[in-house]
Amino acid sequence: MGKLTIPEQELMRPGHMGCLGCGGTLAMRLALKAAGPDTIISIPACCWAVMPGVWPNTCMGIPMLYTAFEVTGASISGIRAALDAKGKKDTNVIGWAGDGGTFDIGLQALSGMVERGTNALYICYDNEAYMNTGIQRSSSTPEGAWTTTTPVGTENYWEQGRKKDMISIMVAHGIPYAATANVAYPEDFVRKVQKALSIDGPTYLQIFAPCPTGWKSQPAKSIKLAKEAITSLAYPMYEVENGVYKINRKPKEQTPLKDYMLKQGRFRHLTEEFIEEQQKMLEANWKRLLKLEEITNEE
């Protein structure tokens, strides 16, 4: 006899338009399991605006509002205010946007929502580029990556500069709860969604969501890649509650960044030296996280 380790309820129906092996799709399935039916979700332009299906079909088992690209944060502030006015204080409100819609174009609206103290959960599914419009770089794209706007050929215009640190930006707002998550760890993500929803205030989750189409990776490998993002230190999994850091997974053994990167076509052009530089940068970032955990947990 087995045991289900995450809620059984299925609020994301099959028949959706997500690509094979899409991490963003799995992220939604898990988030809805965690949030339950008394939830309203607002989604701007992104793959998830298309995935529910062609009108009049939808894979969503809960009410969903399509909103404009820049305004997810404002949109959920409005939904929350309307629900509160109607006395529906227990209905969950979730904003769900891609990294382009969060790190770049929706950043101001998200900042406003957190500053206002809106009681809502904002979830960014991070596939590290603007995928729905054909793989353009965003400020979440990691250094060295190929995208259609950072092309690689006879000349190299791959992504320059490091990935924006959104969690630090959220923490700087004094947000009650912010965390990263990973589709390879559904139990952890379900717990984080439920925790965030139990907090009366603004909360932010950012889930690492492999995109085989944009990363030029094998659909079947999405979960393996997601695990390797943690062991290679490329995408640490941690949460920050009222300024106190907790790292959720500390790899017993660090795996080479090279192994993670070379499984993805978007990094295939990179030299050993370049990848080594990146690994050093990630190791420094990891040390900083460990320090933050230590300092913020002192009495």
Partner: protein, 91 residues
């Protein structure tokens, strides 16, 4: 529905996507070996298409091939190698 004029100004999606046969996107089809299965439901947990059903915690997982797109995550993640992806024959 035939013309774009028939679409309401504010379209509201009211019907379930379940009637959409995404199974015809498939190239490789999962073949399940019940003998090897230990009912850990890891395959169910990771399916991005909610195409693996688990009736209760006594039952074997079941594949919904009307919707399964053949991504192969279940076969890759199964700890007992109870799932194999094979090239699907179509008439």
């Amino acid at each position: 529905m035939s013309k774009h004029q028939d679409i309401p100004l504010t379209p509201i999606n009211t019907e379930s996507s379940e009637k959409v046969r995404t199974g015809d996107w498939r190239t490789y089809i999962p073949v399940f070996d019940a003998e090897k299965c230990i009912k850990c439901y890891i395959c169910w947990k990771y399916c991005p298409d909610a195409a693996i059903k688990v009736k209760d915690e006594e039952s074997l997982p079941e594949w919904d091939l009307f919707h399964c797109k053949g991504c192969g995550i279940c076969a890759e993640e199964c700890p007992k190698d109870a799932i194999e992806m094979i090239l699907e024959e179509v008439e």
